[in-house]
């Protein structure tokens, strides 16, 4: 297989397989988790939960008092790399074109220089968080193979995308093919690892927020 055939494969059958596994896996996992249900709380609520679940979904995106100081890298690094990833994926011109090809939806992107800057910042933040995972006792203690593995499969698409654009190390076609392949690996891995938090965090925050709102505590 030469580099062109490789690129054709990752763009065609490779992408189909990855997206298929991602979609089926996500639906299956969501079904598996949320059909377990929960018991009705029979205690008389202090007040109706109302939109408290939703409120917690937003509130938990901000560091609680005192926590920023206790774990600055988690919060600052976390913001930079999550926002950075979103900017790259949804506002990078080649990505918008891909989405337009797949769905017909399109919107204006950001200049390549800005995306380049976001990419470098995202990688820097992810590296800082990796170092923090090694340095901070509680993080290191909790870490398993999955934590290092999911870090790598998230980092590789950013790195290869950046290298392709910068024409570093390998010919553009090969690097682009590697970039797409790394995204496909990420898609396949996502539903079955902690990366699935991209979906379940909304449910978790909601459950916590609504259960505690019945007691009258905004969490």
């Amino acid at each position: 297989m030469n580099e062109l055939q490789f690129l054709t494969w990752v763009r065609g059958p490779g992408l189909d397989i990855a997206v298929g596994i991602f979609l089926l896996g996500t639906v299956w996992r969501l079904f598996e988790i949320y059909t377990l249900g929960r018991g009705k709380d029979l205690a008389a609520p202090r007040r109706a939960a109302g939109a408290s679940g939703l409120h917690t979904v937003f509130r938990r995106s901000l560091p609680p008092p005192g926590m920023l100081k206790r774990s600055p890298v988690s919060y600052i690094g976390g913001y930079i790399f999550h926002i950075g990833l979103a900017v790259i994926v949804f506002l990078g011109a080649p990505h918008i074109m891909l989405i337009a090809n797949l769905t017909g939806l399109s919107w204006p992107g950001l200049p390549a220089q800005i995306i380049g800057l976001a990419t470098v910042m995202t990688m820097a933040a992810m590296l800082a968080m990796l170092v923090d995972r090694i340095n901070k006792p509680a993080k290191r203690f909790l870490s398993t193979f999955e934590d290092w593995f999911t870090w790598a499969v998230t980092f590789l698409p950013v790195l290869t995308g950046w290298m392709a654009v910068q024409h570093l190390l390998l010919p553009y076609t090969t690097m682009l093919a590697l970039h797409i392949l790394s995204v496909e690996i990420l898609l396949i891995v996502l539903p079955f690892t902690k990366l699935f938090h991209v979906f379940t965090l909304f449910g978790s925050r909601w459950y916590n927020g609504s259960a505690n709102a019945r007691k009258g505590v905004p969490v």
């Binding site: 018991g39 029979l42 008389a44 509680a138 965090l201």
Partner: protein, 420 residues
Amino acid sequence: MSASLDKVSQTLKGVIDAPIASYFESCVHCGLCAEACLFYTETGDPKYTPIHKLEPLRRVYEQEFTLLGRLKKLVGLSRPITDDELDQWQELVYDSCTLCGRCSLVCPVGNDIVYMVRKFREGMAVSGHVPDGIRSATKRTVEIGGPMGLKWPAVANVLRKAGEATGVTIPVDQEGADYLVLLSSMEIVNYPEYIEALARIFNKAGISFTVASDAFEATNAGIQIGSSDLAKVIVSRIVDAAERLKVKYVLSPECGHAYMAIRWEGPNLIGRPFGFEVVHVLELLDELRQKGVLKMKDTFKDPLILHDPCQIVRRGGVLQAPDALIRQVAENYIPIADQQKWNWCCGGGGGASAIHTEEAEALRARVFQIKKRQIEEAGVGTMVTFCANCRIVMEEGLDHYEMNTKLLGLTELLAEHLED
């Protein structure tokens, strides 16, 4: 798998619901829960990271409820939970978790970690991996009536004395009273002033109340140990008495876990909503304050800080009353940085104070350092709280560090300065 382990596995499978599944799936091992847990902040030992305390439960979840976990189990790649492991986890689930719920407030993905610890304790209770101290407290509550083995005649005696001291007879088993007053053994034995305070306030406000001779104990060790069967037996006594005496309200004492047990867990344990309302004593006092009944003849002058008990405030939702009440009576109340729902636990909630092994006591003394710092930073000589258990635990802590901080109960403090 042994019969007992099989039972644990079944119990744990039974407690796993959609929230627990969602919480485990959301955890990214960021370790922020550790920063919210006094057992970690005061010892620096990462084994006290809250989410780690749930590792056996997580494995049961993975092996029984997830696609990959079930596949791994099928081909023999998963590690089942063992007795040794549960033995090891006993310390993490009981000695070093007070169910304070601070972790549940900071988790960035929104996990209610303490909700899971409570559920995990059910499996631990089934397999007998529970500390002797909590086990015997539960046994005494079921067999005798209270965790300290206190019997009615002794309680009646304390009530009679309180009646003599205040000039207010405390009614017993009186049908049709507005309030059924619950007590905690800790109060009856160590702080009978609470009962006197209550009698005086009720008398002044013209509210009818009664104590039930067969349901005076409010605490529920069954919940702390994690046995819903026993917890149900204990809570049913109160429900039966309240319904027999046809009261409108059941008054929870200051005690935090007692409030949690009767107010929030009670209806779920017996499987139906209550026909009466459960009110925490501070909620009632604050209502009286707003009505203008709770007038003070003078104020308490010494500078003081407030310790908010976790189960009443953070987990129980009595958020505004404590602050309003302390301002009513204290002239020099100093609000601290981590207050109200952000307060740090005394270190002995969730049954931990009933564990009297050398290690558990040393650990409690160690984590008390956070309270010590709060007191020292505020530079006060007095701390007020509203939970008899917090008070006992903190008195031990103050003794340990040879501090001469005065500890007061909020209800008593109010009663002492109540207008005659």
